[in-house]
Amino acid sequence: MTTTTTKNRIDSLFQRKPNEILTIYFTAGFPKLEDTRRILIELSDAGTDLIEIGMPFSDPVADGETIQYSNKVALDNGMSIRQLFEQLEGVRNEEGNIKQTPIVLMGYLNPVLQFGIEDFCKKCKEIGIDGLILPDLPLFEYETEYKSVFEKYGLHIIFLVTPQTSEERIKKIDELSNGFLYMVSSNSTTGNTSNKNSELSEMQSDYFNKIKSLNLKNPTQIGFGISDKKSFKQATSYSNGAIIGSAFIRHLESGKTVKEFVESVTSK
């Protein structure tokens, strides 16, 4: 009885801290195969609120160059979902923040399908994964084929909305999501840096404000193109949190420490 009534860590987080949630994405098995667990723990101890672990895929169509690169390196290193679960075994028993930090797995549907949906969810629960982001899982198939399995293993599902998503569809997506809603900042692949000065356009703030005004049931986080303290602050003025991905991957590539990066965003 004790475990089944445990509250999902994502929900506890947003209850505890409704503003300026810092979420960081990294790709499992990058830069080195064995880096996954170390990066996860370091991120958590440095004060990252929520962590997204990317499961690499050979054909990441929604990703820009940086995450394509980290996916490729990880796969060349021999990364797989099976490996990832091995690497994460017992991680919730480690000392430090990692006991409570919510972890979300993000990736394309195909590798998850090949692992087997039920086996995958079971493993997620064993390890203490709190949610899933599967950008190419359609809503209808989710509702009819996947929802009951995800629920059985206590996994939240986080769907994306974009500036092009209609109001009606945003409401539907909100209804089906739990944990939080992932607001893609602009219609682009990940890591888009066309917005060089990291200023938000008027169109983006209109979109963020529109979502704010809809009184959705889920908290929101803004992702895609968030890279530093400035863009993080700006984004979180419209949402409960923001997600940094490509910028952190580039930071790892430069050889600097995880802590340095997190502090550069969270410092006062």
Partner: protein, 408 residues
């Protein structure tokens, strides 16, 4: 153009092979990231509207006739028939403007893009035939055109790269992954995600998310519509015993099979590329070697590892080395409605050479795979001498001359 057989105009016109969500049996669907949802929804609406749009049909029919040069002949290949025993007809898609069936689809889709108010076209290409067909219709309509092509394919299909450039298209090398067709497709999709408002993506085969497979099959269905009329003139019946087509993604085969799918006495024969052989690890035979997965927005059979990573397929033909297969064909194979043969590089090259010598026609290496399947049928059908066969000759071989001359 009349989308009609002798049966019933309305039903053919509105016929959908897939269900409302784009599934053929368990295959198909639209597994797309949310960023593409509005575009796909817009295309779906516009595509269904086209089917009742007389103005569109008039323009499509006119362009296929006066610009593309349709109907393409159904040619009785006398010397080839003598060799194999059966009566063999060739559907001459190689005689289309630009030299392959691909242009049937690009003409249809560029008209759709105009309806949607788009001024830019993005496409992927493998052999370069779809790229050329796309660049051609963009020039015709005065639209901007960007074609992604794997860096490796750019090298092995130089003549088509030069043609696209002369037609005013920008050819962008796909540098990611394995640098061939699947990566060009990834890049085209990424471009579309980043430019959703002004750009239409003209996908080149019956692959990708719903409604693309349905739409491309519909635009290509003119092939079997003409076959039926032409065979009726020559044989007194619209139905041959066999229709043979090669399958990469499956668009020429979808067009050749379309009006025959419900004609159960017509055997549908598909030739996929075995490369060095289906057990060699160097193959593109998706039906023989693939497993169920999701790629480029569609649930279908895929060449993949146990971990679900997509494997780069191999074939001597740059137009057949797609790691997936159109969901329609996965379904036709699964339900045993179509029979699939895996044709090796060597068998295809021999068949290509044979057609050149017997009939004076140099086929695309892709199409040569379909020709090679004659050997399989002759071997397996004891009454082959009494049969009528139509082979869809999807394209001409000019682009492949350097490969042929190296090989032969």
């Amino acid at each position: 153009m009349k989308y009609q057989t002798e049966n019933n105009k309305e039903t053919i016109l509105r016929s959908k092979i897939a269900d409302n969500r784009g599934y053929y049996g368990q295959f198909g669907g639209a597994y797309i990231p949310e960023m593409l949802y509005p575009n796909i929804e817009e295309i779906e609406k516009a595509y269904y509207a086209l089917q009742d749009d007389d103005e569109f049909k008039k323009e499509f029919e006119y362009l296929l006739k006066d610009y593309v040069g349709r109907p393409t002949p159904l040619y009785f290949a006398k010397r080839l028939s003598e060799k194999y025993g059966a009566k063999v007809y060739l559907k001459r898609e190689d005689l289309n403007h630009t030299g392959a069936h691909k242009v049937n689809n690009t003409v249809g889709q560029v008209l759709l893009a105009k309806k949607l108010g788009k001024n830019k076209i993005v496409a992927e290409t493998g052999a370069g035939q779809h790229g050329v067909a796309t660049a051609t219709v963009c020039a015709l309509m005065g639209m901007e055109c960007i074609v992604f092509m794997g860096e490796i394919d750019i090298e092995r299909q130089q003549p088509n790269v030069a043609r696209m450039k002369m037609l005013g298209a920008e050819v962008r090398p796909a540098l990611s992954g394995s640098k061939t067709l699947k990566d060009a497709t990834n890049e085209a999709m990424r471009y579309w995600i980043n430019n959703p408002v002004d750009t239409h993506y003209i996908i080149g085969s019956v692959v990708g998310p719903h409604p693309y497979p349905e739409m491309v099959a519909w635009f290509q269905s003119v092939i079997s519509e003409e076959m039926r009329n032409q065979l009726t003139e020559k044989e007194g019946t619209p139905n041959p015993d066999y229709v043979i087509a090669c399958v990469g993604g499956g668009s020429n085969a979808a067009g050749a099979f379309y009006h025959y799918i419900d004609e159960k006495n017509v055997q549908l024969i598909a030739a996929e590329a075995a490369g060095m052989g289906i057990s060699s690890g160097q193959t593109a035979a998706t039906i023989a070697c693939g497993t169920l997965g999701v790629l480029h927005g569609s649930k279908t059979l895929l060449m993949q590892t146990q971990d679900g990573q997509v494997i780069e397929p191999y074939s001597i033909s740059a137009g057949l080395d797609y790691p997936g297969i159109g969901a329609l064909h996965a379904y036709l194979a699964d339900s045993k409605r179509a029979k699939f043969y895996a044709i090796t590089d060597e068998q295809a090259m021999k068949a290509g050479q044979e057609l050149a010598l017997l009939e004076g026609i140099i086929p695309a290496i892709e199409s040569a795979h379909a020709l090679a399947a004659l050997n399989n049928l002759k071997e397996e059908d004891a009454d082959f001498d009494e049969k009528v066969v139509i082979i869809n000759l999807s394209g001409r071989g000019d682009k492949d001359l350097s490969t042929y001359s190296k090989y032969l």
